[in-house]
Every structure is written in structure tokens, then in C-alpha cells.
């Protein structure tokens, strides 16, 4: 893209947007060059649309000048989703007008994509309702980002992920049409399910301008149990037994020995340092049922060799237990300034095998690799703490990441449970889907976005890139 050509369309942005909504200062451009992953790419400009019509005009301009557009929410993506890898224009959707209506009668929420996830949680709860998808980043992530990454969280095991709650969308397509998919009914089989196709498409198939989300009644009670196991395998057995006993916990989180030690060193709270695994189990539902289920979980953990079991009934005690989980981030950060968070996911029964493989990778490449995550649905978060300035170690990190993906796929799992493919994982797509699988996805992309202007460079290697 030559300088001359750039100047032409840059000026055109000002015909669509008022000048305070077009950011071209070097500082502003750098401020939109990153997300929560490692990449860094400088856009030519940033725009802050205030209406779908503005987006429509922007997309049309982009098609006529082949300008890459990069939709961006709060940029908490861990996979490089919003990074402007080919320059172009970052479309800052976090600044889009925030509108949120809770329709209690139909148990729905109608929201613009800039609404922060936690705000929906709060508003739904005020109406006695519940929006279960709960990424840990919910205080900062936008609904648009959640939709496009199909975000999940601890509650995924029982309640599913974002895709299970989206029933309708309004989107500006990559060719500039404004379309609506789905609607306000939970049941809808009129034609292809474009809603499901769009959810998790990482901003490559259009820019979302509104979403209709399903809400459910708020569970009345909640109990939390924490159990520490001297042997990692035993935590796996306990988990299987709990699910086998017809209990479906609303969360089942695991942390490995390295996390435990890091957390205990960071802020001592009496976690057993010789434990190889800690499980945090939460059940919710009818007060009588959760009482019984929590007691059963406790008993099962004890039977399977848990050395320490804590149960919490009050909100305060529960917060205390969840604190250990919350402290993982700051605690492990002390192991290195660069954090690489993966979320390779395996079938639940293969977790112990996956843990073994991760331990081997840790030793083979001599890395600070720690594991925590949503054990109930096999969604593990292997995190590598390193320093991006250390080239030699970064080379080892790269190899280790490749092996982590390979291990997950060999065990019948997937590259990513909830963070998305984005940038760093795209070379591994064929490993999981095969050439034909990737090609089918690419055909869909090409049908929607013939000029490849919508978040280009993400999910799968470009055609010319693929031949490498």
C-alpha cells in the first residue's frame, strides 16, 4: 500500500466521521496497536463509529480501496484477534453507543456490542435473571468481543458458553449490507443458522452492531468446596466420580502444584505446599439440593485422597476460596514479565494424560509452565512465564507451544477452548481440521468477504501464506 494511495482514503474517513472520531496521531495509533496477547502492529488510523450507517459507509470505502478493517472491543483478546496485522483501520467498537435493554417477560437482553460483560451481569441480576457466560475478563471485555471469540468461563461446564445464549444479531457484513440473523425466539429454524456461524468468527465475517441474548432464572443458592490432593491423578478421579454421581457443578476449577506454590508465596493463606492439585467446585440451584450436593462433593474428594477439604456456605467464605484462584494471575506474574496464555482443551477424561504431557514439555524445554483452568470441561490454561527480550528462551517457548497443541489434538482435543485462534495459532489449524476442513472455512470467508477486508490475516493462513 503506497503512501499516495493511503492519503487518498485517509481523507475520505473524514467524510464519514467527525474529526474527533478519526484518530491519526502517532500516539493514538500506537495505543491501538496491541491486545492482551504478544503482537504489536501499527494501524494507519483508528475510527470510532457511532452508528451502523457510519460502519456501512466505512465498509464500502474499505471495499473500494481495499483497506483492511480491524474491529476491536476492549482488546483483552489473548489470541491477537483485534490486531491490525496489515495496518489499515482499527474500528474501535468499545466507543460505540452503549444500549442495554432487559426484557424480563421474554427473558432476553438486547444490547449493543460496546456494553461491558459485567454490566449485563449486573443488569440481568437486578431483574432476577442470569447471563451465565463469565469470562474472567468480564469487568473489561465487551459483549462484541465475547460474541466474536465465543467466550466461556468457569460456568461453561453446566451452562455452556456465549454461543448458547446468542439468538439474534445485527451485523454489517464485509460487503456493507446490514443484516439481521435469528430473532427473539429461542427456537428458530428458518434457513441457515448464521447466528451460530457469526459467533466465534473473530470479527472476520462482519461488524456486530446489536445482539439479542437469552437470559435464564438466577439460581437461588450456591455452595463452594475446595479440595487439595497430594497426587494430581486423584483430583481427576474425584472429578469423574462427582460427575458420575449425577452432580453437575456450576464450576470445577483446577490449579497445579506450581500455581499453588506461587499463590502461597505471594500471599500465604494456608494452601498445602505439598499438594499437586487443588480443585475448586461450586454447585448452584435450589438451596436444599446444593446443600446435599456440596456434602457429596466433599465426601467424594475425601474418599479420593484429598488431604484438605474446605466448604463454604456464606458469600464471604466463598470469596475466600475463590481468592486463591484469583491470585493466580499476580502470583505467577512474578515468574516472568511475559505471559503466554494458552487454552488447549481436551476431553475431560484425558485431563490427567494432558497434565502428564504438559509436565514433560515443562521439563524438556526448561520453562516456567504452570497450569490451571476449567477442569470440568477439559479447558486447561497452560501459561508460560518468560521474558520476550530473551531470544534464546523465546525460541524454546515457541517449540513448547507447538508441542502443547500437538498433545491436545492427539488426545482428541482442540487448539483453543475459548480464547480463539487469532494469530499465533493459525499455523496449527490444518493439524486439527485437515486441509479440507480449513478450505471449507476459507470458502465461507471468501463468499462473505470477497475483497478480504474484514480482519484479514486471522484464523487461517492467507492463500499465499498457506503454501509455505
Amino acid at each position: 500500500m503506497g503512501m499516495e494511495k493511503q492519503a487518498v482514503w485517509l481523507k475520505d474517513l473524514f467524510d464519514i466521521f467527525p474529526k474527533e472520531r478519526v484518530l491519526t496521531d502517532l500516539a493514538d495509533r500506537h495505543a491501538y496497536s496491541f491486545d492482551a496477547s504478544m503482537g504489536e502492529y501499527l494501524p494507519v488510523a483508528v475510527v470510532q463509529p457511532q452508528s451502523k450507517e457510519q460502519i456501512q459507509r466505512l465498509v464500502r470505502l474499505a471495499n473500494s480501496h481495499r483497506i483492511p478493517l480491524y474491529p476491536r472491543g476492549s482488546a483483552s483478546s489473548l489470541s491477537g484477534g483485534p490486531l491490525p496485522v496489515y495496518g489499515g483501520v482499527v474500528v474501535d467498537m468499545s466507543a460505540y453507543p452503549k444500549r442495554l435493554t432487559i426484557d424480563t417477560e421474554n427473558m432476553l437482553a438486547i444490547a449493543t456490542p460496546s456494553v461491558i460483560t459485567a454490566e449485563l451481569h449486573r443488569k440481568a441480576e437486578e431483574a432476577g435473571l442470569f447471563y451465565p457466560p463469565d469470562p474472567s475478563s468480564s469487568s473489561v471485555s465487551t459483549l462484541g468481543g465475547n460474541l466474536m471469540e465465543n467466550a466461556g468461563g468457569p460456568k461453561g461446564l453446566k451452562y455452556g458458553t456465549t454461543k448458547d445464549y446468542v439468538i439474534g444479531l445485527e451485523v454489517v457484513t464485509p460487503t456493507g449490507e446490514i443484516i439481521r440473523t435469528g430473532g427473539k425466539t429461542v427456537k428458530n429454524v428458518t434457513g441457515y443458522d448464521l447466528t451460530r456461524l457469526l459467533v466465534g468468527s473473530e470479527g472476520t465475517l462482519g461488524i456486530v452492531t446489536e445482539a439479542i441474548l437469552r437470559l435464564i432464572p438466577k439460581p437461588r443458592a450456591r455452595r463452594t468446596v475446595m479440595a487439595a490432593f497430594p497426587r494430581f491423578e486423584d483430583s481427576g478421579y474425584a472429578l469423574t466420580r462427582i460427575l458420575g454421581a449425577q452432580i453437575l457443578p456450576s464450576a470445577m476449577e483446577v490449579m497445579d502444584e506450581y500455581c499453588i506454590r506461587a499463590v502461597e508465596e505471594y500471599e500465604p493463606s494456608g494452601l498445602p505446599l505439598d499438594a499437586e492439585a487443588i480443585l475448586i467446585i461450586e454447585v448452584d440451584g435450589h438451596p436444599a439440593a446444593v446443600e446435599e450436593e456440596a456434602a457429596q462433593c466433599e465426601a467424594i474428594c475425601r474418599e479420593h485422597g484429598a488431604a484438605l477439604v474446605r466448604a463454604a456456605a456464606t458469600a464471604e467464605e466463598q470469596a475466600q476460596i475463590w481468592k486463591a484462584r484469583r491470585l493466580i494471575s499476580p502470583a505467577i506474574a512474578r515468574l516472568g514479565p511475559t505471559k503466554i496464555s494458552e487454552d488447549a482443551t481436551v476431553p475431560r477424561g484425558r485431563i490427567p494424560d494432558m497434565m502428564k504431557r504438559l509436565r514433560q514439555i515443562r521439563e524438556k524445554y526448561r520453562l516456567n509452565l504452570v497450569v490451571f483452568g476449567h477442569a470440568g470441561d477439559g479447558n486447561l490454561h497452560p501459561n508460560i512465564l518468560t521474558d520476550r527480550r530473551n531470544a534464546e528462551e523465546m525460541a524454546r517457548v515457541e517449540k513448547a507451544i507447538g508441542e502443547i497443541f500437538a498433545a491436545a489434538i492427539e488426545l482428541g482435543g482442540t487448539l483453543s477452548g475459548e480464547h480463539g485462534i487469532g494469530l499465533m495459532k493459525k499455523p496449527f489449524m490444518e493439524m486439527e481440521l485437515g486441509k479440507e476442513g480449513v478450505d471449507m472455512m476459507r470458502k465461507i470467508k471468501e463468499a462473505w468477504d470477497p475483497n478480504n477486508i474484514m480482519n484479514p490475516g486471522k484464523i487461517f493462513p492467507d492463500r499465499n501464506e498457506a503454501d509455505r
Binding site: 484518530l23 496521531d25 502517532l26 500516539a27 493514538d28 500506537h30 495505543a31 483483552s76 494471575s329
Partner: protein, 429 residues
């Protein structure tokens, strides 16, 4: 050149993983709505400047200048990134590079900070001049409708919001010790500061009455001076260091159990004196010792209390956290507990009480319109509480909130006061 910034800030900045958890806490991100006005964005830009990818003065300065320095981001950061340190390093670098070609406004600010603020005597004379203007009615001229056209808008607001300056005789005497009432429970040294000592010394009076009433003997050490926070925020680290040394010496001589602060910002600066002497272990140790003794007045009153409250009228009050009291000194509970103890008072919490009011040291003077955008939003939250009194623990916040009250045209039904003054009123002191 940029290596200096690299050395001072890179490691701290590099600890940021850009998760964005700070975004919801940042007042300028909320009011300006763009990433370069967020903590995550600013940290990234410091990193870019340190790497030489952007220019310190042309690119880094504007977003750094627009930071309030409230440090709410630090309190919510899951990785404990030291934003304060990064910000200071950036400001220092800006000053160093700017000194080659200073702007007129910078020169005036710096001249004042260098030649007036370090000298309590000069400040007091300025305070007296202020009183003269107030008493003679000259200052009241700003209330005339036409005044807005003659004076910059910001100055008219400041003039209106400034509380009445009492006669000079009411100032505390340096070197004086005010004896405890009843049994002496502790020896406390009062940090007097600059503006508080020169202009807002009614708050000091109230502070001394409260402390002595709960059994503290209060010394006002001679030789103390401005804490240096303003200097540090303007990147004048050397000046700040000089002032810190003078204070450390003055307070060491006084040998008190605690040092009482009644200005959130000054207290926070003293708490962080240790950072100023990074390469000097002896001064670092002395600074840390001093910092360890510093307590906010609310903490001391809570510890030595109860206060001798008298019955007063039913009053609804709301409490606005001073950013540095909350985010740096981590004091948020004590003032509220005290307010809840006052007979007849109902504390109505406002939404976002922990968010900056836009005062930010002298931010409101330097960036008037940005500051007022934040303040007007804050006043909406204040209004929702139905409070008649807005209480805070830092002089800058009190002035700013009074400006907010003036702007909202609410000065007949609402006032902004320091916690100490309000408590003293309710003790009949």
C-alpha cells in the same frame, strides 16, 4: 536520551500484560473514551518512547499530561504494575527534554514550584494577600456577571470556591506543642504542608483540636516544608528530593509516635519518599522510617477515639475518596467509620466515590476543560445522594468539589468540607 527512560521505567512498564483490567477504573479513559487516555495505553506509550519508537515531547507528552495521576489503576491491577513509578519517570523525562525549549506556562509553573512552594514564609504572605483580597471585597468582583469576560473562566471559579481565609493569627505556630486534653496517649507530629498551612489552615486548627481531644499531644515541627508531591508530578524530581530531605530531618528531630497527615496527597507522597532515594541506602532507610510513622488523621482518630461528639442537626453527608488517600495510602474505611459515628448524620454513599473528582493536584488548573468534564459527571453522582455536605480528606479535592457545587449552582444547599472540619463542628470544637 531515551535510555534514561528505558532504565527508569521499562522494567515496570514491561510488567504490564495489557489485560485491560485498569480500563474501568480510569477516569480519563471514561471521559475521553480512547485508549491513549487509559493506563494500559499510557504504559504502552512509555514503553514505545523508551524503545525510541515515538518522540517523548511530541507523542508521549500529551497523553501523559492528561493523566490525573489518581492511581486508581494501581489499586485494581491484578499484576501490581507500578503505574506511579512509570508516570513519574515519564514526567521526569519530559521535563528534562522540555528544559531545552520551555513553554511560557511551564516556566511560570516551575518558577512558582521552585521559588515559592518550598518556603512556608513566602506562601503565608501569599495567603495573607489572598485574605486581603477577600476581606476588602476585591475578590468578590469576580462574582459580577461581566467578570467572566475579563478573567479566564478557571480563575473565576477558583476565586469563588476558595474558602474564607482566616486572619494570620490563627495559623499554627511552627515549633509549638499543643498539649493533650486529659491523659496523654500519644505524641503526634503534624505535617503542615504548603497550601494547607498558607490558606486552608482552618483545617489544621480543626485537626489539632480533634487530636488533642482524643488524648494526643500535637507537635508542629519547625523546619518542615511542602511535601514535594507537586514537584514530583511536574517531573521536578531533584526539587522533590530536596524537600523530602528537609522534612525527614525536621520530623526525625521531633521524635513523635506518629506523623499525622490531613492531606491525602501529601501523606501519599511522604509514604513514597523511599522511592526518591533509590541509589542512596542511608536516605532510603530514613525515608522508609518516616513513611512507616505516617498515618492519616482519620486512622489516628479511630485508634485513639471515640471523639466527644455533641448532638447536632440531622444531616445527610457523602464522602468522596481522595485518590491518593485511597489508592496509595489505602485508607478508605476509617473516614467512613468516623462519619457513621456522628450523631444525627447519615452517610449516603455515592456511586463511584472511589473515582477521581478531576482535581489531580493542579490538573484542574492546567487542563481545565478535561477536569470539568470529569467534575460535572461527579456532581451528578453527588446530587443523587441528596447530600448537603460533601466530605473529603484532601485540600485539592475539597476545592474542586466546591467548584463543582458552584458550577451546579448548588452553593445554597450544599458545601464541601474537610473531614476534620466537619468532625470538629460536630464535637463543638
Amino acid at each position: 536520551m531515551t535510555n534514561r527512560l528505558y532504565e527508569k521505567a521499562y522494567e515496570a512498564a514491561n510488567a504490564c500484560v495489557q489485560c485491560g483490567y485498569c480500563l474501568p477504573a480510569c477516569p480519563t479513559y471514561a471521559s475521553m473514551g480512547k485508549e491513549s487516555a487509559s493506563p494500559r495505553g499510557r504504559i504502552h506509550l512509555v514503553k514505545m518512547a523508551a524503545e525510541g519508537k515515538i518522540d517523548v515531547l511530541r507523542d508521549l507528552r500529551p497523553p501523559i499530561d492528561l493523566c490525573l495521576g489518581c492511581r486508581a489503576c494501581e489499586a485494581v491491577c491484578p499484576l501490581n504494575v507500578r503505574y506511579g513509578k512509570i508516570l513519574e519517570a515519564a514526567r521526569e523525562e519530559i521535563v528534562v527534554q522540555q528544559s531545552a525549549r520551555p513553554a511560557p506556562g511551564d516556566r511560570l509553573t516551575r518558577m512558582l514550584l521552585k521559588n515559592v512552594f518550598p518556603h512556608p514564609g513566602r506562601l503565608r504572605r501569599l495567603g495573607d494577600l489572598g485574605r486581603f483580597l477577600q476581606v476588602s471585597g476585591l475578590l468578590r468582583l469576580v462574582r459580577f456577571p461581566g467578570a467572566n469576560r475579563l478573567l479566564p473562566e478557571r480563575l473565576t471559579y477558583f476565586a469563588k470556591a476558595l474558602p474564607a481565609i482566616p486572619p494570620a493569627g490563627e495559623r499554627l505556630r511552627f515549633g509549638h506543642v499543643y498539649p493533650a486534653k486529659g491523659k496523654r496517649k500519644a505524641r503526634v507530629a503534624l505535617f503542615a504542608g504548603c497550601v494547607m498551612d498558607a490558606v486552608m489552615f482552618r483545617i489544621h486548627r480543626a485537626t489539632v483540636s480533634l487530636l488533642t481531644a482524643v488524648g494526643a499531644e500535637v507537635a508542629v515541627p519547625a523546619g518542615q516544608c511542602c511535601c514535594g508531591a507537586l514537584h514530583l508530578h511536574q517531573g521536578m524530581t531533584d526539587e522533590a528530593r530536596k524537600l523530602a530531605r528537609r522534612n525527614i530531618e525536621a520530623f526525625e528531630r521531633c521524635e513523635a509516635d506518629w506523623i499525622a497527615g490531613n492531606a491525602g496527597g501529601c501523606g501519599a507522597a511522604i509514604k513514597e519518599y523511599g522511592r526518591l532515594f533509590a541509589d542512596d541506602p542511608e536516605w532510603t532507610a530514613r525515608a522508609r522510617r518516616l513513611a512507616g510513622k505516617l498515618k492519616d488523621i482519620s486512622e489516628i482518630l479511630l485508634e485513639l477515639g471515640p471523639l466527644p461528639f455533641v448532638n447536632g442537626p440531622e444531616t445527610v453527608v457523602t464522602y468522596q475518596d481522595s485518590c491518593h488517600l485511597l489508592n496509595v495510602q489505602r485508607v478508605g474505611r476509617a473516614p467512613r467509620v468516623l462519619l457513621e459515628q456522628v450523631p444525627g448524620v447519615r452517610l449516603a454513599e455515592m456511586e463511584g466515590a472511589d473515582r477521581c473528582c478531576g482535581s489531580g493536584g493542579i490538573y484542574n488548573l492546567l487542563h481545565f476543560s478535561e477536569s470539568m468534564a470529569i467534575l460535572d459527571e461527579k456532581m451528578e453522582r453527588v446530587r443523587e445522594t441528596g447530600a448537603e455536605v460533601v466530605i473529603s480528606g484532601n485540600p485539592g479535592c475539597i476545592l474542586q468539589l466546591q467548584i463543582g457545587i458552584e458550577r451546579a449552582g448548588a452553593s445554597r444547599r450544599m458545601r464541601s468540607v474537610h473531614l476534620a472540619e466537619f468532625l470538629a463542628e460536630r464535637c463543638g470544637l
